[in-house]
């Protein structure tokens, strides 16, 4: 049973009198524990794809089954809930809460699950340990390096045990050495059974993935499995 099932998804935006087809009839399925890269130049529709996959936005038409749940017809609150339960976001600019320390940031999604403080602390500490930041728990984001910030963000995404880890240009703001470290961490998570989807325009990043979906003009141009490149 596919974890993600997109069926003829379209997304249209109105720009003045013109209608822009950001996504134009996408049909694709992602199985559990797949490691997928969405690549393409800017304007190819991969950001829109990410928003749809991450339930931040709803398609204009088509059906999206996420873990057998139909996202269609959900209101904002239900979408929030499904994001909280099924999806772990990793952003290019990390998107950590600036006033909360590493532990606080990782605990944040658990608040929306109604988990009490002591339990939140335990789970968040566990997740930070998993990304190797157990010694930085009480640091604020601006006291951490870029790589460390992205690790905090990964811990925040992992702490809810999501079905999918959804990364948007995860290494875009990092130097090459740190990028490799982050991608190694992704590889490791994949080996542990995590489903990962990475949206990127960098081929070195896409090379880590097992499957590369190339997008062009809102359509899937190529979709192929590749021999995984190991560093």
């Amino acid at each position: 049973m596919a974890l993600i099932q997109l069926d003829n998804i379209t997304k249209h935006y109105e720009m003045g009198s013109q209608i822009v087809k950001a996504l134009d009839g996408i049909t694709i399925a992602v199985e559990p524990n797949e490691y997928v890269a969405f690549v393409g130049s800017s304007g190819s529709g991969k950001s829109t794809m990410l928003n749809i996959l991450g339930c931040l936005d709803k398609p204009t038409s088509g059906t999206y089954l996420l873990n057998q749940k139909n996202v269609e017809g959900m209101d904002q609150n239900e979408l929030s809930e499904i994001r909280n339960q099924e999806i772990g976001f990793i952003f290019q600019s990390f998107n950590l809460l600036p006033r909360a320390n590493a532990l606080g940031n990782v605990m944040q999604p658990l608040i929306y699950r109604g988990i009490k403080l002591s339990e939140r602390r335990r789970l968040a500490a566990e997740a930070l340990q998993r990304v190797g930041l157990e010694s930085r728990m009480d640091h604020l984001p601006n006291q951490l390096s870029g790589g460390q910030r992205q690790r905090v963000a990964i811990a925040r995404a992992l702490v809810t045990h999501p079905s999918i880890l959804l990364a948007d240009e995860p290494t875009g703001n990092l130097d090459s050495k740190t990028s490799v470290e982050i991608m190694d961490l992704f590889d490791q998570l994949h080996q542990e059974g995590q489903t990962l989807i990475v949206v990127t325009h960098e081929h070195e990043i896409a090379a880590h993935c097992e499957r590369v979906v190339e997008m062009r003009d809102g359509k899937v141009a190529t979709d192929q499995f590749q021999e995984k490149m190991t560093a």
């Binding site: 991450g54 931040l56 904002q76 929030s80 976001f89 929306y112 925040r156 809810t160």
Partner: protein
Amino acid sequence: MMLFAFIESSRSALISIYAHGLRSFLTTLGIVIGVASVIAVVSVTQGMSAYIGDTFAALGSNSLTIESRTSTEDRMKGIRNRLTPDDLELIELRGEGIASITPILAANRSSQVKYGTQTVFSQILGTTYAFQDVAQFYTASGRFLAQSDNQTRRRIAVIGDKTRENLDLPENPVNEYIEIGGEWFKIVGLLETKGEIMGFNQDDLVLVPYATMRSLQGNQAQTDIQIQLSLTEGADVNDVSQQLTTLLRSAHDLSANEEDDFIIQTSEQLMETFDQIIGTVTVVVGGIVGISLLVGGIGIMNIMLVSVTERTREIGICKAIGAKRHHILLQFLIEALLLSLIGGLVGLALGFGLGTLIASSIPGFPPAAIPWWAIALALGFSGFVGILFGILPAAKAANLDPIDALRYE
């Protein structure tokens, strides 16, 4: 579940307030000043009101005072209305519901009192033994005026403690002699101290027998007396004053269209007048302060709106990782509520301090008192202001679209 969201929102609101210390302080300043002024005014007026209440209770709450009254118009024509000893006799004879009655005759010429080398001015009143009941004056040492003092026109006096002090009389002045209007009076009693009403010292007086006072003034027809009386248990103040009015009007031959040439006052009326003044002051100041609280609330709304804009990206992050509408709404609403409640509490402390300072810096002013309803009102109102002016920013935050919010720079 709701309680959980409430606690978590309060936690993050507190963190946010603390993180923006200076801004939070400036935001609440409007509320602080508003509440502080309410509390300062209320505590001062309430202190005054409680004090006046006590004072009038001591004055004897079921007593009446009758005085002559001359309208300004008549006064310009040289007419002086009078209450005469005949009026006193009439009331003694035909008044109903009266327990004790006493005339009071104020010294009309000099009110000088001498003792040794000291000469002071005091309030010298000619009255009878009944004054004790009516005005609730009791002696601290010696005795009060007796009925026989009046009948035999004895030259004796009962004095207040302030007068004793002014005259350098010994602690117990009984059996000392003082000089009033060229005559020697023997002091037979010292009154208990009563304190002041609105800066007017009640202990600076000399009481002498009514008949003695009359003879001292010579038997002039010009006598204008004041009559004080206390009512019997169960007698209604209004009924009695109604009956006395009718009695005096017919005695004074007043026709239906003429005004009373006397005035009947109850101590309750006096107290009500004071209460009314205080009430008016409280309402007026309360209104002004209400406006300042409103302005404070608008200040909070303003800052909260700025804060929402500033934290748009944070809101986007929270929504992306699963925050629902009510999570965001509660967080900002509680932040506004806490800001104004903290402002209210600080204002409360500041206002009470201010009230105490005002009360203690004016000599003879009663101490500030802060009633529970004022505390509840101040906190309730500032909380209300916080919620009222927090709703708009909170709703704005809660309704943000996660994609737009995440993209916000």
